[in-house]
Symmetry: C2
Subunit: 374 residues, 2 copies
């Protein structure tokens, strides 16, 4: 059974898909630093910094603001398995792939999901949510995706959260693609639970999921009648490791080097400043939009709901979308994303996320598309 | 809320605790290589190599042999939530911390756990397991820890699995600390589900959990009556991404760089050869044992059940165990582990795992202890 496999040397790509995005070289370097113990006092001090930096990124003072030791899907599951108890009714807004995944999470946690559906490419309609809240006064939670990675649509998180709160519901918000790319104000908007990913607008390697929980959410978690079904994701246990104070209870072995990388990504974000990062994402999006227009390529999403960091564009008629993506990868080492579900074959998803949101990448992508489409 | 936190530069430690262990420099370098997409054909080809290399490490031909995208605790949970259905009776052998965690996993998955207890520091007693199997003919599964990280005791996995099979039970085996350090023969021993961690005898960074499932286990997973409670860990979905064939279904974003690191760790293991790695762990353990004996330090575990990679030793009478550990860390940059639970304050756990299992580390640890204890 002995094999003779060699070390893997990856190609150098330009990552302009739906994530992972280009990783900042400072972050790659941080990841390769010497591993230390997950209970080492120096590591524990770094964990405290990660929490502070995440509070800044999320614009929150929530004490329970930490990275889950697994990718964004596990961050989503952390929110649902901790906040949904068997029998809870949850209103789930669905306008793309990830709303559907939320429904799965609700049901697997023993809750029932009331679906509020919008067309793929549209933002969540607040009026539909309001109607559902009125029709289901026993709903306990509202869940929606802030930035739908599958369609490139941005929803009005502030308004959706305000509606939920008027009806005494907690909110779970998917900010996987929004954090760092467009404004996210956890405290100001009254978000109760939010999760994100490291590999989008934070320009970090994939593998961790930053989350934050309001005091109301923490109270609900602490007063659950049933144990959280996941041991690994049970925040009552995770808080013992990530909590404040010098004494940290061992829960699981933290992914030490991945946390070095996230720390560095957040330091870079802090240096640039959130507002500057948002402005940069906007500016590069506009440049890409203008360049695509010159190539006759238009957007799936109407202008006011477009995500600057994820550009879902219609494949021009008569163009073999797969062939173009393959040639971009093979001839230009440039990755862009395909459509998912009903949008497969119809759209491309061009990411301009984090470090990948640069004038250089915009120019490179436009020049490659120009060459291949003409 | 703006902070002014600087890049984190960790100290260079020698890691001789219960994990993480010293990371091989080739692995750190691999981790810093350029990130590529998780559906990139080059990445998919690398995934296939990781599977082959894991098959070698586990000594199995199981097709479902993959790394879970999260630490060992999530690997444990993957085994339990996929194999335990509500109402299933599971015999759990407990001789340390991790057997207790298995019980938690069984109960949270809706099963009932029959506990077979042994003293901490003892291996699992096959006769007690046999008795439990006889008394509970309706048991569906047997779970035990091969190498108890909390006590340094090695159990006879081959015999325990044979007993389970005689009673028509599937087996779940914790090999977090054993894989790569002592013989593990998944196929020959008839193990149905096994999980490990990257940060022990594979010398890799923490964050992933290699798992392997037999055909019998896969059949049970595919024929479940209830959906797996975890979406993230549902192998019916994960198999779509890690399965064979060119077409990989998107499930979650794989931790790309962590997988580069695991790939390199497994290439190194393959180059050395499993048998040589086991012999090296044994040899360095014996050298440490002799050196400790000269210092008057004895082992918690009797000789025939000692793990060479995790040496649980009794703190000499009159010695302040915490003070010694702190001085080792501060003055020698050397991490060794403390006792857990009832063993807190009574033992040290000295790891000689993977790359950290070297004559250099043995000599350094002995010389530091000699200086501090005299």
């Amino acid at each position: 059974m002995k094999t003779t496999i060699q070390s893997f040397i990856p190609p150098v790509r330009t990552l302009m898909g739906p994530g992972p995005s280009d990783v900042h070289p400072r972050i790659s370097a941080a990841m390769a630093r010497p591993t230390i113990g997950h209970l080492d006092p120096k590591f524990v001090a770094m964990m405290d910094e990660v929490k502070q930096l995440l509070q800044y990124a999320f614009q929150t003072e929530n004490a329970l603001t930490i990275p889950v030791s697994a990718p964004g899907s596990a961050g989503m599951e952390t929110c649902f398995v901790n906040l949904v108890e068997p029998g809870d009714k949850v209103i789930v807004c669905k306008n793309g792939v990830f709303g559907g995944r939320m429904q799965e999470n609700v049901e697997r946690a023993g809750g029932s999901a009331v679906m509020v559906e919008d067309d793929w490419g549209e933002p969540v309609d607040p009026e539909k949510l309001e109607q559902a809240l009125t029709e289901h006064p026993d709903a306990r939670l509202v869940a929606f995706v802030h930035a739908e990675t599958s369609t490139g649509a941005l929803s009005d998180a502030e308004r959706l959260c305000a509606l939920a709160r008027q009806h005494d519901c907690l909110t779970i918000v998917d900010a996987v693609t929004s954090l760092g790319g467009v404004p996210v104000y956890v405290d100001e908007w009254g978000i109760d639970a939010i999760y994100s990913g490291t590999q989008k607008c934070l320009s970090c390697t994939p593998g961790l999921s930053p989350v934050s929980f309001s005091e109301r959410a923490v109270q609900k978690i602490k007063s659950r009648k049933h144990k959280v079904q996941s041991w690994f994701l049970d925040l009552n246990l995770v808080m013992g490791y990530w909590g404040s104070g010098a004494k940290r209870a061992y829960h699981h072995t933290a992914p030490v080097n991945a946390l070095y990388a996230l720390h560095e990504a957040l330091v870079i974000l802090q240096e640039e400043g959130l507002e500057n990062a948002w402005a940069r994402h906007k500016q590069n999006h506009l440049a890409l939009r203008d360049g695509l227009a010159a190539l006759g390529i238009s957007f799936l999403v109407r202008e006011e709901a477009r995500l600057p960091q994820l550009n879902a564009v219609l494949v021009p008629e008569g163009v073999d979308e797969l062939a173009v993506r393959q040639r971009l990868l093979q001839e230009y080492d440039l990755e862009i994303g395909a459509g998912l579900g009903d949008l497969a074959g119809k759209i491309w998803r061009i990411g301009l996320m984090g470090y990948a949101s640069s004038a250089k990448n915009v120019a490179y992508c436009l020049s490659a598309l120009r060459a291949l489409l003409n």
